[in-house]
């Protein structure tokens, strides 16, 4: 499953595969051709990915083969003990969490779950969490505070679930409470935007001491489609909206929202998930090592200052 702008690369890749299949059959050798094509692929690839438009980045951020929370857990954690329930209503699958040993670090890991198979996707509401998901996340974060465990929060959601029951049971209240209570957590909070950072549904578990972001992830106040249909009165203007909203990692770092960009392997995380996951692990561990030396009081202050600065008025 390639994206439109990846078509030229796909063509070269296919040709390489063909040659490799023929190679050394019937005494014909294509080594030179293959090497040439691979150089060509690399150059083309560099060219394509060096000048991705924001809308192309959105496509990558949503790519079906992009690594999801479970992949990060599998790739980075020697142990994950999932904990369940909000102690009030249910056990939403749009956000999951639990104790994890990420590399050598014991943490409370939480994150949006989108699901791989169609069954999983439906169970997880395609990563759109309900109030019980946000409340479960907050419960686990309070537990982390009690156990003095750092919190690692993975963001990847189209947005909070806009369903009837979610609304009736307080989607707004649940997100608001998380924003309020996360600001007072006495432990390090490392947030990573791995795919889609969709609006209130993202920030609802996103109040970190540092916010990291994969290089092809996006983070936005509204989906480009939604913005286009409102401000351009035309959903097909999404690419325009994607540009205007400045939702790429680089643009967000400039705005002081993102502290560090995690470079994805060439071609995007979906072309080499292991490398993307590994780079993410490196970045998280480095932040954890640094933040664990800071006192609780200072962590709370620093988190407050980080968000205070965003939108600070200068004249």
């Amino acid at each position: 499953m390639d994206l439109d702008f990846e078509k030229p690369l796909e063509a070269i890749e296919q040709r390489i595969a063909e040659l490799k299949a023929l190679n050394n059959r019937a005494d014909v050798n294509f080594d030179t051709e293959i090497a040439a094509l691979e150089r060509k692929l690399q150059t083309a690839s560099k060219r394509v990915y060096a000048k991705l438009t924001p809308w192309e980045t959105v496509q990558i951020a949503r790519h079906a083969e992009r690594p999801l929370l479970r992949d990060y857990i599998q790739g980075l954690c020697s142990e994950f003990i999932e904990l369940h329930g909000d102690r009030c209503f249910g056990d939403d699958q749009g956000i999951i969490g639990g104790f994890a040993t990420l590399r050598d670090q014991r943490v409370m890991l939480i994150g949006h779950q989108k699901g791989k198979t169609i069954e999983e996707k439906i169970k997880a509401n395609f990563g759109m969490a309900s109030p019980d998901g946000y409340r479960k996340a907050m419960r686990l974060m309070h537990l982390a505070a009690k156990y003095k465990l750092p919190i690692v929060s993975f963001i990847d959601t189209p947005g909070a679930y806009p369903g009837f029951e979610a609304e009736a049971r307080g989607q707004a209240e649940a997100i608001a409470r998380n924003l309020t209570e996360m600001s007072l957590l006495p432990v390090p909070v490392v947030v990573i935007v791995t795919g889609e950072g969709g609006s209130g549904g993202a920030i609802g578990i996103g109040v970190g001491n540092v916010v990291l972001m994969l290089s092809n992830a996006v983070y936005s106040v509204i989906s480009p489609e939604g913005c286009a249909s409102i401000l351009w009165r035309d959903g097909s203007k999404a690419p325009l909206a994607a540009s205007a909203l400045k939702i790429t990692a680089a643009a967000l770092q400039e705005q002081g929202v993102i502290d560090e960009i995690i470079l994805e392997p060439e071609g995007g995380a979906h072309r080499n998930p292991a490398a993307a996951i590994n780079a993410t692990g490196d970045a998280i561990v480095e932040q954890l090592r640094r933040l664990k030396k800071i006192s609780s009081k200072r962590l709370i202050e620093q988190r407050y200052e980080k968000f205070s600065k965003i939108g600070r008025f200068k004249k």
Binding site: A172, A176, E181, I203, V207, V221, R233, F307
Partner: protein
């Protein structure tokens, strides 16, 4: 966020003769003068028309006690944003000119029957009361100011949600303002939220929902997701009273529904319970 799509319910029709106001809810005709004297509340059906931040301030604050705070903060254009209708900066300038406000929220201090209180009063007529960097900054600065003085803090919300023209900065104001509310909680400083029509999107999902006491005006629209989005998601019609103040009261998110004319007295009564005893 769709604050500029006026719903049918909220669109007013006025007669040309400028004499009558027709209630958008029950269609009853009321003399303009009477409508004004009644605080823009329909005497027949209790429909509460949207009003501006200045009117709200005058309804709540003791005469002569108002002092604006953080009034220097105005809109920024962090994204250099333009849409189909042109640059955001022009739209913001037009809003300022039209309303005489510097942002979608008026902040300051005043007294309620002698009790000093800090206020943030949103105004829907300023770009749909949307939460921008400037609005978030004003609310946060005023919350901090209230904290330093140990004055109760009251926010009156009237907003379609985050101001998307400012992109991620507007989203981050949800976290920024909630952190300021969290600090008031740490200081045991009272925070009262008043939700008026409409309080939706990112404003409902941040400070507006976090009052020690959440008060709503009758029949105010309050909700996170837009009605149409929900209907598209669940493929069915929503009940009529969904996302009304009355619905939220029944579902546990609102403490009290208070009519406009009774609001000041109600706040005064409530505030007395938060003073030293």
């Amino acid at each position: 966020m769709a604050w500029f799509r006026k719903s049918a319910r909220q669109r007013h029709e006025t007669l040309d003769e400028d004499l009558w106001t027709i209630c958008p809810s029950c269609k009853v005709h009321t003399y303009k003068q009477e409508w004004q004297a009644g605080l823009k509340v329909c005497p027949k059906c209790n429909y509460h028309e949207r009003i501006g931040c200045m009117e709200r301030r005058d309804l709540l604050v003791d005469s002569g006690t108002w002092r604006e705070y953080a009034g220097h903060v105005t809109t920024s254009d962090p994204l250099n944003f333009s849409d189909a209708k042109g640059p955001y900066s022009e739209k913001a300038a037009a809003a300022k000119a039209k309303t005489g406000l510097s942002e979608s929220v008026l902040t300051g201090d005043g007294k309620i029957n002698g009790i000093p209180v800090s206020f943030a009063i949103m105004d829907f007529s300023f770009l749909g009361g949307s939460l921008s960097g400037g609005a978030g900054e004003k609310i946060t600065l005023t919350a901090e100011h209230a904290g330093r003085h140990r004055w109760p803090f009251i926010i009156i919300s009237a907003s379609g949600g985050a101001r998307m023209h400012e992109g991620i900065v507007s989203l981050m104001q949800m976290a920024k303002t909630c952190a300021a509310i969290a600090r008031l909680n740490e200081l045991d400083v009272p925070y009262i939220s008043i939700l008026t029509d409409p309080t939706t999107g990112g404003v409902s999902a941040s400070f507006a929902m976090m009052g020690d006491i959440n008060i709503a005006e009758p029949r105010a629209l309050i909700g996170f997701a837009g009605r149409r989005v929900i209907e598209e998601t669940i493929k069915q019609k929503l009940p009529d009273d969904f996302q009304t103040a009355e619905y939220l009261l029944e579902h546990g998110f609102i403490d009290h529904i208070v009519a406009r004319k009774d609001m000041k007295e109600f706040l005064h009564r409530v505030l007395q319970y938060s003073q030293k005893h």
